[in-house]
Amino acid sequence: LPAGLSQWFPALEVLDVSGTGLAEMGAELLSLPCLHTLLAKNNRLGGPGSLPKGLGQAPLARSLRVLNLSGNRFAEVPPALLQLRGLRSLSLGGNRLHSIPPDIQELRSLEFLYLGGNFITSIPPELAKLPSLKYLVLCDNKIQSIPPQLAQLHSLRSLSLHNNLLTYLPREILNLVHLEELSLRGNPLVVRFVRDLTYNPPSLQELAGRTIKTRNVPYAPSDLPETLVRYLSLASNCPNPKCGGVYFDSCVRQIKFVDFCGKYRLPLMHYLCSPECSSPFSSASQSSTSQSSTSQSESDSEDEASVAAHRMQKVLLG
């Protein structure tokens, strides 16, 4: 960037240096107090010095709203970027990212996040802590699973997941009430019912933990070692509405298909606390004694799932 930029153009609001071969952006950026949009796509940024030191303390950290760094050579999200607290729109599409840093949650004002066309293999659950995120693009990556916590993105309206390595989705995805668009094509989504995946019987620690939780056995931090107190806080509730149990590490994973508005059948992963728990969902269970109760609970869960599925208006499987 030319030296003296901020002296010549102190009121600069939009700076577009895309397609200029830029390899680093230096201190010239730091003294532009009015800059709200910085477009630097298709350059040679990605190495050290791509972003100036001291970015977090500069006026830019609060004024910058839109940052486009797509088509560069970033192999990781530069930590300095996470100090841009006012950022509403961030694009790092078409770079060389292999992961998303958990500290992405620092970008509290983020509404638009484009990370398509990278080499990302997993999504950190911390991404779900972005309260204003409306538009999330993760297409054309190497993502194998979606963390169920992503369902906490209450503002999410559009989620782009096409061309990844997903075989199923977490059932919690049905909780994204405002989601209007979901793209899933080009994923190896399972199309047939998948038999129960390997179930490791619970350890004694797990069984003790379950008992404490389901029977509400009182305990205080002084009663237990800190590791066990933390362990007990990680209990997950069994989604089977007829169960009410909890599980820690040992759970049955089962894929259940949900019809979206009669159009597409999506495989959703259910975590249940035991194989007995899963039998109401399994279409293969044919116990004659529990025939009526099986179909009752199966239709209950089908109803709950299809109501949620109807909320998603435009599922783009293509």
Partner: protein, 137 residues
Amino acid sequence: FRYTRNLVDSGNGKFNLMILCWGEGHGSSIHDHTDSHCFMKILQGNLKETLFEWPEKKGNGEMTRKSERVLRENQCAYINDSIGLHRVENISHTETAVSLHLYSPPFDTCNTFDQRTGHKHKVTMTFYSQYGERTVC
């Protein structure tokens, strides 16, 4: 949040002329053209067109890809139902794309196809804007 269809002219009912604006990564579903002629010209950026065979009557397998090509600025393409089905996408993660489409006769419903199974579903197509005015639905 997805590509927009903007009607420019309806030629006294004989055709629909529209401009499609594609954001980075935006793509269409696989669709047919309801017995109409469809001409497409790239005004800006690039669009990838993937041609598919019509699925078998009671098809229940992955749809067959015939060919694919990237259409550059100013290039034109044509398709109708006897040629096959297609998916159009902006595969760029850095550039937007704009295309001009002419459909004759005009149509407002078509079928979209699930690539994994060949199942089709009739949809009504809507406009983001008409003659420069935002269409509210």
